[in-house]
């Protein structure tokens, strides 16, 4: 029994444990510890080499195996980390389904990450899809609706994947990962597989145009579930897409499938899908007035960066894409935690009904500040490093327009995260929130730990880049040339290095000098928020003196018409098509069933007899 077996067994044990013991606080504490134990076991696995599990069985003469490599290791670490923090954050949540769902998700994800062939990949994929449902139904009525939508999308995606895998089997006669690489197919076959597999997996990843389900499904459920789902769940789609690109259609093949002859390849198409997946959801997030939905929409948008980085498939781009999975997971987790601690204390996440909470919930504010700097990709937090890598790679490849698209996404992120923070923590404290308290320790401690992780991996990206380098060599790329403070890019088309340690050092000495200047100029006198300029008006506690609704009025005036019904029409068209098909088949069975069936049976029997 090796470390991988132990990991999978512990994970399975955690599921059983959560079924029995998650009702008590001690049980939940132990459950949190169990995720830590799994992480420790994970560290026993050498990320640099491939480890094969001793579990495995045969089905139709096909050996199903489980194995772990650097890529799986990287994703597994993020999964376990997210689960650990989510479980800690949810110590006070008594819903049993939450804890069972969390452990079931972790287990199924680990199985998916260690899938060794297409069949086990598909089985684990379905497991992941269905265990996700457990975490999505924990909210109010609206979460059920969202979950139903998710199930519809997930089934469609699963079917596409299934069809792709069957095609692989029928064309190559094997389900092993090396089936396609050993039996080269024709370009049209590659194209079909790419559409089915990448299309199917991108439903989970919520790439355009399959993104409509995700925001509600992830945001409207219970807090810890949102933290986990938002941080890592959708990235399983990315993992599966990487597997597809590694074993079925590599990027070179994708680049030789022309959608418009001599002009536009399948890879270009995917790059544009990724770029649009950055822009459109980000600007949808800008319109949201519910903090949870705002974050969830950003989750979809950030997925585009990862996809974009991987599609570059060079040293820097893929490193950026993979690193962004880690960085984004930490930032999204801390942001969801902060927002749900507001919900826990004030009972609302409506951004138009909050404000000024920094005076009452300073730790949650700090968490959100770290999170938004990271999510927006500004130094000194970790989000900056991964976005920098993606940008550099786009510039080196000469993709100016896609580069522009990704920067537009970042700017949109900055705008909407400032709105998020301003409307909840800054501005005027409302009368009804005068006596709000900071979230309990069980919520603030994981937030602070995550904040430290985000900062440390921002200053010393070498720590996380090491994991990324392992993952890169596992998928057959040259690992990125990293050191503790950043990256060296001697051999790319456009040169330019990054050393975060220096940047951050100088940044903080800048802050230090500014602080000395600031503090030397005398002591400040704190005043009450109502002692404020209002053009001579006398403010009192009943004045709502806060600007939050329609926050970017000038911008919205222009861009509102642009995305009013974006992609709703697509979903609507699919729904009406399915409806139509359902009506036809129902009327077929309702009205003519006896005669038709008899006819069918008779014809078949006669046909068989004649033959």
């Amino acid at each position: 029994m090796n470390a991988l077996d132990l990991l999978l067994l512990t994970s399975l044990g955690t599921v059983l444990f959560s079924v029995v013991f998650s009702a008590s606080l001690t049980g939940r504490m132990l459950l949190t510890m169990l995720y830590a134990v799994q992480t420790v076991i994970l560290f026993q696995i050498d990320a640099g080499t491939e480890m094969v599990s001793s579990f495995g069985f045969e089905i139709f003469n096909h050996a199903l195996g489980l194995s772990f490599n650097g890529l799986s290791w990287f994703f597994a670490l993020i999964t376990l980390g997210s689960a650990f923090f989510a479980a800690w954050y949810g110590l006070n949540q008594q819903q049993k389904l939450l804890h069972v769902g969390l452990s079931a998700n972790v287990f199924s994800m680990l199985v998916l990450l260690s899938a060794g062939d297409f069949l086990s990949l598909f089985i684990a994929w379905e497991l992941v899809s269905w265990s996700g449902v457990l975490l999505m139904v924990l909210g109010k009525q609206e979460s059920l609706v969202a979950t139903l939508k998710y199930i519809t999308y997930a089934i469609a995606g699963g079917m596409a994947v299934f069809a792709g895998i069957i095609l692989i089997y029928s064309w190559t006669g094997s389900l092993a990962f090396n089936a396609v690489t050993e039996n080269p197919l024709s370009l049209s076959q590659y194209g079909t597989l790419a559409i089915l597999l990448i299309g199917g997996f991108s439903v989970k990843m919520a790439l355009l145009p399959f993104h409509l389900w995700q925001a509600e499904a992830y945001a409207l459920t219970s807090g810890p579930a949102s933290v986990f789902l938002g941080a890592i769940s959708a990235r399983m789609g990315l993992f599966a897409i990487v597997i597809t690109m590694m074993h079925v259609v590599d990027l070179k093949t994708l680049d030789s499938i022309f959608l418009i002859p001599e002009l536009f390849t399948f890879r270009d198409f995917l790059i544009w899908v990724a770029a649009l997946s950055i822009i459109l959801p980000t600007y949808t997030a800008l319109r949201q007035n519910d903090a949870r939905l705002l974050l969830a929409w950003h989750g979809i948008g950030q997925g585009g960066y990862m996809m974009l980085g991987l599609l570059m498939y060079d040293q820097m781009g893929s490193a950026g894409g993979l690193l962004h999975v880690f960085n984004y997971a930490s930032c999204q987790a801390i942001l969801f935690m902060s927002v749900f601690s507001i919900l826990h204390r004030t009972g609302t996440t409506n951004l138009n009904q909050l404000g000024g909470l920094v005076a009452r919930m300073p730790l949650s504010f700090l968490a959100m500040l770290v999170g938004i700097i990271g999510l927006a990709g500004l130094p000194p937090m970790n989000g900056f490093v991964s976005k920098w890598l993606v940008y550099r790679s786009l510039l080196s490849d000469g993709m100016a327009i896609v580069f522009l698209a990704s920067v537009i996404g970042t700017l949109g992120t900055i705008l909407s995260v400032y709105k998020l923070m301003h409307n909840s923590f800054l501005g005027q404290l409302r009368v009804e929130h005068e006596h709000v308290k900071e979230a309990p320790w069980s919520m603030t401690v994981p937030m602070m730990l995550l904040a430290i992780i985000i900062f440390i991996t921002g200053v010393m990206p070498g720590i996380s880049l090491e994991l990324v380098a392992n993952a890169q060599s596992a998928i057959g790329l040259t690992p990125v040339d990293y050191h503790l403070g950043g990256v060296v890019s001697a051999n790319s088309a456009i040169s330019g290095d990054l050393d975060m340690i220096w940047v951050v050092l100088v940044l903080f000495s800048g802050f230090g000098i500014a602080a000395i200047l600031f503090l030397s100029a005398g002591k400040s006198r704190r005043v009450h928020q109502l002692d404020n300029y209002a053009g001579g008006h006398f403010l009192n506690a009943n004045n709502q003196y806060q600007y939050s609704d329609n926050f970017y009025a000038g911008l919205m005036h222009i861009i509102k018409p642009w995305y009013r019904y974006s992609f709703k029409w697509f979903e609507g068209a699919v729904v009406s098509f399915v409806n139509l098909a359902a009506v036809f088949s129902r009327s077929f069975f309702n009205q003519a069933h006896m005669l038709i069936w008899m006819l069918v049976v008779v014809t078949t029997v006669m046909a068989v007899a004649i033959i």
Partner: protein, 302 residues
């Protein structure tokens, strides 16, 4: 290109200091030019310094809370750090460890700090100002990013030290403004937006939203913003000179070029009224973006 730690430390101290002094001169020039255009005399030579000293020596320093203080520290400190990423004659600071993209992002930190500080002031005028400032940033950064991509393609690097070297070795013919005139023009638009001067002064708008972000700032808080303005003028104009006008062969040329570049937006500023926010966005996404895209096409088919 290996220098001792002590020398580096001296550079890191000198670069922001010089930036601050030059920035004050730039503020002075801006006010003098404005005065001359309005047929006035304008302020005395040391006026920017008097203002900053006076604001820092006020007896009352009204604060709305810790974040208000931290915001101002971030706003000034972020620019102090940004100056060390911007190479000037004889001093490279840590420009080689960051590059153009890092500089662009470090320059967003002061704005973020200011936005934080203003947010805590609990004044809707300030919040409106910030929402407009961020909208303006979205507007002018799009042409600016196109310009940045063009610069990276044409010089083959995002390292500003190399950008300067390539231009200075090739003489005037290698200058960005000669190599890519459309980009240089688009860059001027972006510069005007970046400085937040009329006609793009949407977020200060004294008569409309009571100076927006500065509404609750007094004493050293306002003083910090005055310091920030010095840095902002310096950074924007020197960055433009670095990208398009070959940087500075020596300090004299650098300053000449930087002041000449700055003269363009501030002369325009005092001749125009203010746009509405949505008009600003519309204009920025139309003409400079068009110019930038033409420039990109020209670079690709060069």
């Amino acid at each position: 290109m290996h220098i001792g730690l002590g020398e580096l430390l001296i550079e890191l101290t000198l670069m922001p200091l010089v930036a601050f002094i030059v920035g004050m001169l730039m503020v002075l020039m801006m006010r003098r030019v404005g005065a001359r255009l309005q047929r006035r005399v304008g302020p005395p030579f040391f006026q920017p310094l008097y203002d900053i000293i006076k604001l820092h020596s006020k007896e009352t320093q009204i604060s709305h809370g810790l974040i208000h203080d931290i915001g101002i520290i971030m706003a000034v400190g972020g620019y102090i750090a940004a100056e060390t990423l911007l190479p000037v004659p004889g001093m490279n600071g840590i420009a080689e460890k960051g590059g153009l993209i890092t500089l662009l992002y470090v320059m967003m930190i002061p704005s973020l700090g200011l936005a934080l500080g203003v947010g805590q002031c609990a004044n809707p005028n300030g919040s409106i100002g910030i929402s407009r400032a961020l909208t303006a940033m979205l507007a002018y950064d799009i042409p600016f990013v196109i310009v940045m991509a063009g610069v990276a393609f044409i010089y083959g690097t995002t390292n500003l030290v190399e950008v300067i070297n390539i231009q200075q070795e090739g003489g005037i013919a290698a200058w960005g403004a000669v190599q890519m005139p459309f980009m240089a023009l688009a860059g001027l638009f972006a510069l005007q937006g970046m400085l937040g001067k009329q006609p793009f002064e949407v977020y200060v708008a004294p008569a409309e939203i009571a100076t927006g972000p500065m509404v609750e700032m007094g004493g050293k808080y306002l003083g910090g913003l005055f310091v920030m303005q010095c840095f902002q003028l310096y950074t924007a104009s020197v960055l433009y000179v670095t990208l398009f006008l070959g940087g500075g062969e020596n300090w004299l040329f650098l300053l000449l070029k930087a002041f000449a570049v700055l003269l363009i937006p501030i002369s325009i500023a005092f001749l125009f009224p203010r746009f509405k926010t949505d008009d600003l966005v519309r204009l920025m996404w139309k003409w400079p973006v068009l110019l930038g895209l033409i420039g990109l096409v020209l670079i690709n088919y060069r």
